[in-house]
Amino acid sequence: MRTTARSRRVPATASLRFIVVVALTGFLWGAAVKVALAEHYHVACVGHGFVHGDSTGDGSFFARVETGCGSTLRQCDLYTNGSFVGGMSVGGTSTTCNAWSRSFGNYSECASTAHDYASGVFSNHVHKAHNWCG
């Protein structure tokens, strides 16, 4: 009888542990995917990065730096295949830096990067397109 009771408990414990492991794995996987998807745009005190807009393949995209956190100068530049195509600098504390690709010409969205800077908040750094192909 004891043997039978033990044999019923062991699989139940194993299943519970297995489910916990699977749930944890799912959690980490979901987190990793989300972080990867968010890489082209994120919030580091102020939102900034590469903004695709409606589609990742329509050639309409932005380099953008929002206001806040005491920044008095923001820069948002676009590069395609490693070459500068256009960008913007804005002063003051309340104006969003918003450089739109189509106002500079016609460029490959997936081969483009946004180079963003906000004074006193973060230094100039690169955000690649979500569907990076460069």
Partner: protein, 199 residues
């Protein structure tokens, strides 16, 4: 057999729950796919304002302004031909620019002038340019760019207090400081440097 199926269902449910929890914690929404309200035009009219000659026979440069859905004043630089504001397509023809989150927008309740410097790389036959532009609802009476080592350039004021100046080549914004004088006598200076001289 039934136990194995139940375990499989539990595994799938647990995985889904884990992914959902992680998705919620890591990112509330995929904001990058949605146009932010403060950059989208509100119900007020989009107005074509100040303009400047384009290179050779190309369309003029121009500023269009709009008031965003949250009340910000927005200015955007584009091209202008036959009263149509837009951008040059692959064939060099002007394509009308639809209303969208394409302007640079500022809170005129905090700072009365929205202004920026755009640098545009050469493309095909089009030369590189650096453009100073902006707008203000505080009835600016004058806007002047003070190029380093050059003569001051006075800019005409257009609709919604808009202004624009175009300079050849890619220039550092710091070499093109801007002064805007408002109807109340204040003069705001944009030095395009961090911390100093900004409005």
């Amino acid at each position: 057999m039934r136990r194995a199926i139940a375990l499989l269902v539990l595994m799938i449910a647990a995985t889904g729950a884990g992914i959902a929890a992680a998705s919620t914690l890591v990112s509330g929404e995929e904001s990058f796919e949605q146009a932010p309200e403060h950059l989208l035009p509100g119900p007020a009219e989009l107005m074509i304002g100040a303009h400047a000659p384009g290179p050779r026979d190309a369309p003029e440069w121009a500023v269009r302004t709009y008031v965003g859905r949250t009340g910000l004043l927005c200015a955007e630089r584009g091209r202008l031909a036959a009263g149509i504001f837009g951008d040059l397509g692959r064939d060099g023809e002007l394509e009308p620019r639809p209303a969208g989150p394409t302007g640079t927008c500022g809170d005129t309740g905090r700072e009365p002038v929205v202004a920026g410097v755009e640098r545009i790389a050469a493309q095909g036959d089009a030369p590189a340019s650096t453009i100073v532009f902006g707008a203000s609802l505080s009835r600016p009476t004058g806007a002047t760019v003070l190029p380093a080592g050059g003569e001051p350039v006075d800019l005409p004021i257009g609709a919604r207090g808009s202004f624009i100046a175009v300079f050849d080549g890619l220039r550092e914004p710091q070499s093109l400081p801007l002064e805007v004088t408002l109807a109340d006598g204040r003069t705001l200076r944009f030095a395009w440097t961090a911390g100093a001289g900004e409005p």
